[in-house]
């Protein structure tokens, strides 16, 4: 007996409750119809887009339909989305890009507020029915309704802060009025998404139902039978200025740790807003519009929006059909194990193999711990672990669509692995190496199918770093590369196409930055000061800490390889680094590198404090230039040499692989903003002072003009 494997796929469209199927009054983006109970179902289905976002057109049409609905004598109004993915993903950021006139933004925001207020002021019961994502402007729309019903699986959040903004369509006052103000501020300050269960607990939604009960739940809400959540005692206390001031002080301190005010003004503006006007809706509204408009035209927000579009651009490269369902990972070290765990979490069927059974078991243990933290239900955790098969015999190879090799960085070892596995691989399977330093041209020697061989270079930690360098070489087939890009999309990673060249893009650019830090350390600058200079510039962590995190052994290997294979002028690798690696102090993974770490990999606090005396040189801008400009210089060289196609890929890759100061919009964008000429002049000065390694690359000329 064969049963269609997609019975549910056939029936699924019937599951969604969108109100009456017939007699809808269509507009471009919205449509509505009154059901037999007299409830109007207003459905958003933004035309020409797969996701609902709030553009100016969508908002002004909402204004029109709200006016029409008011005349229908409806018993109640339901707002929901027709898109499979969710309710509304937020404002259409394309509308905000490149705006410079705060006054004009203010006028636009005031109009948008009027429309949302119109919804909030409707006399009849209004119900937002929310499935999937409900973010930013979408959540503000939902907050303007009297009731919110969540379909299980819905998630809510204000991600504006990640774009250097805060909510601008009433979120700053409607959310604290609805739920515990501290929780509300936390949501807005962190940009974190809350899932259905938490949303119910917070009182963000009145009810959580399954799709099949939406209609009954709407009726109950319209009939006034659902109990809306009450704001607790905390809300009342925080109505008092003194209590708010105390809470605000704590929030500022927290925000400063994650997002220093000089780089990220938005969180601090949000706290100001709430401290000053909390509880006073009218004042909050006015202040929110002004603050939002000022932030929007500011450099941080515009740069972070650039980052958003850089991500969208890389995501587009990951579209398409990968044909990968089964992944076989060879090597259960940190990288291999984490790659396997991540792939399984994203739905791939994974086999993980290693010569050492204990390494495989350890990787499974790490995966389970990661799933406990990151996957929301025990069922998801179980399924992810079920998909991650410890493969002691390497049997997964035979059915794998993609084989990822992550064994020791030795060409001989890798080639031996290839020799053993290639006869067992499927005819159309892709073989990928996670090498960071061995040329693909060396590794492909003797391969029966160099066309299906390529590089998939992940970054550590795999679960946090979104970028994957997809490494091409002149014998790799277009088809295999396209499939590899699509695979990155399948597992929610961002592919950056790079050519096979020493260090590819990211490590090649990172190495001069790290080696310069080592040189400064040799010159007697305390490591803490070096790290502080980089952090002042906006890096998430300093180069010394980063080197520890990457692993000093890997740094050493990559630096030696680059020195050997490139004629880029570079500092000598210091002797102490070699000695440290030989002694096994390879960084965080070993518990000791340049800093010391506890078992959990946290910095030991006594280590951080040393040498922070008055005598030590202060971190300054010149120090930052010495670290950052060689990185920029190398990136320009890579661009000139064609290692990477364009500036967007460079900027995206550095941000999503290394966390390069996001508010600066990417390294090359930073150079352009600072002025290419100015950067070149500074490099020349550094060259005079410190040596040829700072000599500006010829590629800077391409960026001029």
């Amino acid at each position: 007996m064969t049963v269609s494997k997609s019975v549910w796929k056939v029936l699924e469209p019937r599951n969604m409750e969108l109100g009456p199927r017939e007699g809808n009054k269509p507009h471009t983006h919205w449509r509505y119809a009154k059901d037999e109970e007299g409830i109007v179902w207003l459905v958003l289905d933004r035309s020409g887009e797969s996701t609902n976002t709030l553009s100016e057109a969508v908002m002004s049409e909402l204004n029109t339909v709200l006016a029409e609905v008011q005349g229908l004598g409806a018993k109640g109004l339901v707002i929901r989305a027709a898109k499979e993915g969710g309710f509304v993903a937020g404002a259409d950021i394309r509308d905000f890009r490149g705006v410079t006139d705060a006054g004009e933004v203010e006028a636009r925001m005031r109009r948008a507020h009027e429309i949302v207020d119109r919804l909030a002021d409707l006399p009849m019961p209004t119900v937002a029915v929310i499935h999937g994502h409900c973010l930013g402007g979408g959540l503000e729309l939902a907050l303007a309704c009297k009731h919110r019903i969540a379909v299980a699986g819905a998630s809510f959040g204000f991600p504006e802060i990640l774009l250097g903004l805060h909510p601008g369509l009433g979120g700053t006052f409607r959310l604290p009025a609805l739920i515990d103000p501290i929780e509300a501020m936390t949501m807005m300050l962190t940009g974190r998404t809350v899932h259905t269960k938490k949303a119910k607990a917070l009182g963000l939604v009145d009810a959580v139902v399954e799709e099949r009960h939406v209609k009954n739940a709407v009726r109950a809400a319209v009939a006034g039978q659902t109990k809306p959540s009450r704001p607790g005692l905390k809300g009342t206390v925080l109505g008092l200025g003194a209590a708010r001031r105390m809470a605000a002080r704590r929030m500022r301190a927290e925000a400063e740790k994650k997002a220093p005010k000089k780089h990220y003004p938005a969180p601090h503006r949000l706290v100001d807003l709430w401290e000053e006007h909390g509880g006073d809706t009218r004042a909050m509204k006015k202040a929110e519009i002004r603050s939002f408009s000022e932030l929007l035209v500011g450099e941080t927000a515009q740069n972070l929006m650039r980052v958003f579009f850089l991500r969208e651009g890389l995501k587009r490269l990951g579209k398409g059909e990968s044909g990968v369902r089964r992944v076989h990972v060879i090597g259960a070290g940190t990288m291999g194990g984490d790659i396997a765990a991540w792939c399984a979490a994203r739905g791939m069927t994974v086999s993980l193999t290693d010569l050492d059974p204990k390494a495989i078991a350890g990787a499974v243990g790490r995966a389970a711990a990661f799933y406990d933290k990151r996957l929301h239900s025990s069922l998801d955790r179980r399924d992810a672990l079920d998909r991650l098969m410890p493969d002691f015999e390497g049997d997964g190879i035979a059915r794998a669509d993609l084989v990822i090799e992550a064994v020791a960085e030795k060409a001989e070892v890798k080639r031996k692995v290839f020799e053993a596995i290639t006869p067992r691989m499927k005819k159309d399977a892709i073989l990928a190496t996670n090498t960071s330093s061995i040329p693909l041209e060396t590794l492909r020697e003797g391969l029966p199918f160099p066309d299906r061989f390529l590089g998939l270079h992940f970054f550590n930690p795999v679960t946090r770093m979104e970028l994957v360098e997809v490494v091409a070489h002149d014998q790799a087939s277009e088809k295999a590369l396209a499939r590899a890009h699509a695979f990155c999309g399948d597992i929610s990673r961002l592919p950056a196409p790079v050519k096979s060249a020493p260090g590819f893009l990211v490590n090649r650019a990172l190495t001069p930055y790290l080696v310069e830090a080592f040189t400064m350390f040799d010159e007697g600058v305390p490591k803490e000061t070096i790290d502080e200079a980089a952090k002042d510039f906006g890096m998430p962590m300093g180069p010394i800490e980063l080197a520890d995190r990457v692993g000093l052994d890997i740094c050493l290997e990559v630096a030696r390889m680059l020195k050997e294979r490139l004629d880029d002028p570079m500092s000598e690798v210091p002797d102490w680094l070699v000695k440290k690696v030989e002694a096994g102090d390879t960084g965080r993974k070993a518990g000791r590198g340049l800093y010391a770490y506890d078992e959990k990999g946290k910095l030991k606090s006594d280590e951080v404090k040393v040498a922070k005396g008055e005598e030590a040189p202060r971190a300054d801008a010149e120090m930052a230039d010495r670290l950052v400009l060689p990185m920029l210089n190398t990136l320009v060289r890579c661009l000139r040499e064609g290692v990477v196609a364009d500036e967007e890929t460079v900027d995206g890759a550095m941000i999503f692989a290394t966390g390069f100061a996001p508010f600066r919009g990417g390294p090359l964008h930073y150079a352009r903003k600072r002025g290419v000429e100015e950067v070149v002049v500074t490099l020349r000065q550094l060259e005079e002072k410190h040596g040829a390694r700072f000599a500006p690359d010829a590629g800077w000329d391409m960026l001029k003009g």
């Binding site: 494997k5 549910w8 499974v364 243990g365 389970a368 998909r387 493969d391 002691f392 015999e393 049997d395």
Partner: protein, 462 residues
């Protein structure tokens, strides 16, 4: 069945019931014409290490175990997991979260939403019953590929409320008013708080109220099995398993399992290679104090484990270019007085061999599940017992002695443990692997079954 009509239906049957021992007739036991019956092959199989229950739930539930050994087994097949027609799983102590564990396992193994799966239960024979079910389906042309297994996590056996405690709780939960509730609380008796260990009840025959160990005491006594003989048997079981482990005879059959905390389980951990006659002699009787002779040392161990075998038709073998390990030739089930359930194997094995026209010497290798040393030895003694063979087995002469070097050659449930729903599957799988290693042709796997039954399966290496 001709015998059935001889007994009065109102009276409880005392004589053992088994299938006619007549030679293969036009129709076999499954109702399929023997000459039309399709050959059925066992092409692969794997199990988890058997893990001793250590007084608390172990690292794996029954289905977790089935997934642990099922994933690599499926991964090494040349066909897709979706290509199976049925999944059948034997499991006795199904946990509440895993009703129809066969289907739960099939889905968790990624065999597809359309995979049909059912669970079977005949106590200690469940893992063999699953093979028998798949065997008969393929034989009858109703399936080509069947995944048949057994899974059991005895460490998960629940604490059960006594029935009067359960009744009290029901009354308390139903109480609507405060007054009713107070009255209900007043009806509570302290002894209700004492939970019944589910496992203990599970290992007690519900009809005769005899513990399984007691049934071993009964037949040990009947056939004069001395404590020393039982202990010696147990000692050898441990030594045989230890040797098999050391020499790598279990490679491919036992698949390493990994718990979610990253712990590696790579061998049957009940084995005690350092045990001795002196140590075994010190153990106190476990079931009938103070004079009983069945001790924890000469009984099977309480254990968690799972096992699967892949069954295939001739067509499936050709289609997927499989290399069969053995052919499943025939199977037989028998039943008798529950208080002497340990003799079950003598009934079904003899009947099966007779039907196939096989003498004792024609069977090259035996797996007889080691529920208790005294029970295995009682079966062996029964086969040499003139009266038993004549009156019970219907043989003209004693069946004869089964050479010890042809029986449970790599140890058994005494050293490995006895996850009840799994053991029947394991002995079939291991019988096949052992025959291939030793270059033997024909083997019999059999187990006694709590409740008074026995199961046997005949296999031939191809």
């Amino acid at each position: 069945m001709a015998e059935a009509s001889k007994t009065k239906p109102t009276q409880r049957r005392r004589s053992p019931r088994r299938t006619s021992t007549a030679k293969p007739a036009a129709r076999g036991p499954s109702g399929v014409s023997q000459d039309r019956a399709r050959p059925v092959y066992l092409v692969d199989g794997a199990r988890t290490p058997f893990l001793r229950a250590r007084g608390k739930p172990g690292p794996f539930t029954p289905v977790d175990l089935a997934v642990q050994c099922g994933r690599p087994l499926l991964a090494r097949q040349p066909f897709a997991a979706e290509d199976f027609d049925f999944v059948i799983l034997g499991c006795v102590n199904v946990i509440a979260d895993e009703m129809n564990p066969a289907r739960v396992a099939a889905l968790r193994l990624g065999m597809g939403d359309a995979m049909r799966a059912f669970s079977v239960q005949i106590n200690c024979g469940s893992g063999m019953l699953s093979i028998d079910n798949g065997f008969r389906m393929i034989e009858a042309g109703k399936a080509d590929l069947v995944l048949a297994g057994g899974a059991e996590a005895l460490s998960y056996a629940p604490l059960v409320l006594s029935s009067n405690a359960a009744a009290w709780f029901g009354r308390f939960a139903m109480a609507k008013t405060a007054w009713e509730r107070v009255a209900a609380i007043g009806a509570f008796r302290p002894d209700m708080a004492k939970p019944v260990i589910g496992l203990e009840r599970g290992l007690t025959d519900p009809v005769t109220d005899l513990g399984m160990g007691q049934t071993a005491e009964v037949i040990g006594h009947i056939f004069g099995i001395a404590r020393e003989a039982a202990d010696a048997y147990a000692l050898e079981s441990h030594q045989r398993l230890a040797r098999a482990q050391a020499e790598g005879h279990l490679k491919g059959e036992v698949i390493v399992s990994v718990a979610r905390d990253g712990t590696l389980y790579d061998h049957d951990d009940g084995v005690r290679p350092d045990t001795s006659m002196e140590k075994l002699a010190k153990l106190k009787p476990a079931f009938e104090k103070p004079y009983g002779e069945v001790t924890p040392g000469n009984s099977s161990q309480i254990t968690d484990g799972a096992s699967w075998v892949v069954l295939a038709s001739e067509e499936a073998v050709k289609k997927h270019k499989l290399e069969p390990l053995a052919r499943v030739v025939d199977s037989e089930w028998a039943a008798l007085d529950p208080s002497i359930m340990g003799l079950g194997p003598t009934l079904c094995c003899t009947a099966l061999a007779e039907r196939r026209g096989l003498a004792r010497e024609d069977i090259d290798l035996w797996e007889l599940n080691e529920a208790f040393a005294a029970q295995v030895l009682a079966c062996l003694a029964a086969w040499e017992d003139e009266e038993y063979c004549r009156k019970v087995l219907g043989l003209e002469a004693p069946y004869g002695a089964i050479p010890r070097d042809r029986l449970n050659v790599d140890g058994g449930a005494i050293s490995l443990g006895h996850p009840v729903g799994t053991s029947g599957n394991r002995i079939v799988l291991h019988l096949v692997n052992a025959m291939r290693r030793l270059g033997l042709k024909r083997g019999m796997a059999s187990e006694c079954i709590g409740g008074g039954q026995g199961g046997a399966m005949l296999l031939e290496v191809v």
